[in-house]
Structures are given as C-alpha cells and as structure tokens.
Symmetry: C2
Amino acid sequence: MEKIAEQKSFGGLHQRYRHVSETVHCEMVFAVYLPPAAKEGNACPVLYWLSGLTCTDENFMQKAGAHRMAAELGLIIVAPDTSPRGKEVPGDPDGAWDFGHGAGFYLNATQEPWRTHYQMHDYVVQELPTLIETKLPFSGRRGISGHSMGGHGALVAALRHPARYQSISAFAPISNPMQCPWGEKAFRRYLGNNRSSWRQWDACELMAQSSANKPGDRVPILIDQGEADNFLQEQLKPEALEQAAAKHGYPLTLRRQPGYDHSYYFIASFIDDHLRYHAACLGNAD
Amino acid sequence: MEKIAEQKSFGGLHQRYRHVSETVHCEMVFAVYLPPAAKEGNACPVLYWLSGLTCTDENFMQKAGAHRMAAELGLIIVAPDTSPRGKEVPGDPDGAWDFGHGAGFYLNATQEPWRTHYQMHDYVVQELPTLIETKLPFSGRRGISGHSMGGHGALVAALRHPARYQSISAFAPISNPMQCPWGEKAFRRYLGNNRSSWRQWDACELMAQSSANKPGDRVPILIDQGEADNFLQEQLKPEALEQAAAKHGYPLTLRRQPGYDHSYYFIASFIDDHLRYHAACLGNAD
C-alpha cells in the first residue's frame, strides 16, 4: 500500500493510495479523507463511498464538497475505484462506458472472461476495509453510501452484510438493476443468463429477503433522488425500491428533490444531510 | 448567447452559455451560478471568478464547493474561460500548458500572432459584464476573485479599474508576473520584449501606481496562500505583493495557510471566507 498523494483539506487530509489487490488481481487506487479528529489520532467511524459509472476514486473527493462537513463531524471517508483496471483487465468489447472499466457494478462476477478481476463486491466489503481500517484510527463503526451504480453497490453491500454497516444511504441509486438496461447488460455478462442468480445483487430482491425479526438486519436507508434526473424512469426506478420497502416493512426514507438532475451538483446540494445522517447512526454526531 | 446547460444546485441554478465574442474573436463559453434569491428575481451582486492555467469555466463550479455559501449569501458567480479557444486561435507553438489555450493571462496582447484573439482583459472587464449583467437581476455591485493565473487576473483587473469592482480577493495569485517564469514567458510573447509595457499587467507595479488620495482606488484585498504550494517560491511570490502593499500603503490581508497546496482542496477550504468577504463588501451579507 503506497501513498501516491496527500493534500490538506479543511484541516484534514485527502490521501490517495495504490496497492495490488488479491481480490481483483490488479493494481487498485483508492482515496481517503481523514478529518482533523482522525489526523490527531481520535477514533472515528468510516463512511465508504461508491461512485457511479465512469468514475474513479477522484470524482467524489473533488466534486461532492463533502470534506467540510466530514471535518466537522469527524467522519473518515474512503472512496474506492469503480472497477478493476489495467491492460490485463478485459473491458467492454465495444468500448462502451456502461460496462467493464469504470463499471464493475460492485458484484462478484461468475462468468469468463470477467470473473478473475470483477470481484468488486468482495473488494469493497472485505479486502479494502481489512486493508485500511487497521491503519486508521477506526472507531469500529462503518457506513456506506454511493451514487447511481454506486448507490446500487452501497444498498447491495449493506443489505447482504447488515452486521457490517451501521448506516446506509444513496443518491439516485440503480434500485432494481434486474429490470433496467444498465443492470441487465451488466448482470448478463458478469453473472450469466440465469436470472435467478441475479437476485442476490438486486436491492429490491434483497430487501424482500431481509429479516424483520433481526433488528440488526434492518438498518434504515436514506435515499435522495432528483426529479429532473435523465435516468430516473429507465434506469433508476426508485418506485420499485419504495414498493419493496413498503411490502416488506423495510425502513426507507426516499426523498424526491424537484428540479435536481443526476450530477454532482445534486449530490453536493444534499451531501451534508447524508453525512449528518451517517454520523448520527455511527455515533459521531455533533 | 445560447444556454448550453442548466442544473439545479443548492436551490439555485448552475448555467453554461456559449456566445461569439467580439473582443476575442471566437466562440466563448462561460458559467453562471444564480443563487435562489437571483432565481426569484431579487437584485444580487456579481462575483467574477477567474481560473488558473489549463482550466475552463467548469473547474471552479465543480470543485470549489462555492454554491452552498453563494446560495446562502445571495451572490451571483460568473466564471469565464481562461483564454480564447478553437482551431483559429493560435496556441503554444510547442504545445505547452502554460501559454496559449487555457493560459490567456487576462491581458490584452499587442504582438502577432496573439493580439487578434488574446484580449482576455477586455473580455473579462468589459464585454462579459456588458453581456451578462443586463440579463441578470444585478444589484450594480461587482467583485472579482481568482486562483493562480486567475488571481493575477483578478488583482490586475481590479487595480486597473478600481471603480468597477467593490471587492477583490485571490487564492495563490501570480503576484509579480514580471519576475517569474510563467509571467515572463507569457508577457514576452503577448506583449513583446519591452519590459516597461509589462508594468500595466503586474499587480505589484499597479499597486505602486494606485492613488492613496482617492479612497475608491484602494479597495482592500484579501489573499489566501498555501504554505505547501509547489509554485510558491518560483512563480507566486506573495512577498513581493506584501512589500508593494506595505510600501505604498495599500490595504492587503495576506493569510498564509500552513500545509495547504495549490489545488482546489485548498480553495474549497477557504472559499466560504472569501464569499463572506465579498458579500460584506458588496452589500449582500447576512
């Protein structure tokens, strides 16, 4: 694990690290924001942020305007890349931007030629926390959030591993990937044609599977969705998640924000609310 | 003037416009942030932001995290591009990033082949305000700020036209361009070899020329400078500006910020202070 950049930001530190991942079998880069409290060695919770299609570790750190409030709340933020990368990692055969490099969909691929490298779920949920949390002043409490494909990734990670995450939120997540073009294209290639195997990677399906009898399995979810989002109807389908939550009694707050689109201007406009929500769940609120 | 993008941000609007400039003789793109107050038609002051080398109208809007406080304070922000662009606009003969496209230095070139297009000072100080302010709910009060090359541009614009700007600030400005490699390269090409003609484009020289007898000529300047900035010693030279201000009694607040570099993480960390400063000078403070 090699530090490749470090910059002071809001009294804390923005850092980038490179390491060779045993899970995705290539070199990976991720970013960390250390609030002043962590810089001084105080134990802080960690919020994992999963970005959307085409992003790297940099988009959120540069564009979300999250450092100010993370500094104030004492939240560490960790932002991984959105897929394995490199010459040895196969990408989209047609060079499309919605599959392959920058589009790992935070799942564990089972199909050739993807399965060697596209194990992003295990990378984000297991390898990266194991790698980084021992090196940080980590309080032991963990949240997860993300945008679009990364919103899907965050919901799936937390719904599959409810004991690992004490807070969940998302911005404009791909809520029902089995039933939208982005998700179907990715799942068919990464997971194969058997649609029943897709269900473990779809937030709506996982919500149905989560147990109301174990309180720890039902971490409340906060979602913001812009109503002027170009991808809302065809790709994101928040109404499917809303219906699944209602049907299965899952605690979900879905806020529709009039006039906002799919961009980082939308994320920046509401990131403070999400950071406060995570800090409150994670025990580091004001 | 054609609107090419519009996105909601913090209750206001981020917009991008394209127009054919009569001053720089090519198509130009600029960005505007309209706070909610302006969206609702209330007269607001305008802050012009000039970006640094290699930037476009987008860097500040995406990375500075300025919309939140501008929305709160009711400040309109206008961010022009950093140079003329296009196939018809000559760039650096060697393809360097510190001259030509993305590096107009906010001056009026006198030399061939640059002088037809590189009239960025007149574009920023005259044409753009004339174009945009009549279309905005503009209060009549104007501020200017910028980063690095754009900090130089902001200081020079305001020192040359003190009646036009009621507030001035800068982040890590090129403070004494006549005496640094970036400035000398640009000035030699844009302005020719006669160094005496360079003096009207150097903030230290202009500070000496400003008159203490006309209070309106001496708008106080706020500058933040990171102490871990890689360009500090060779290119930025804030001490020269500090000496000029002290010698000529110019009101300057120069804050040295330990540990901060030249990036937008530095700008974001202190942009709220600058926006509050401008709003206070421009009469739209809390």
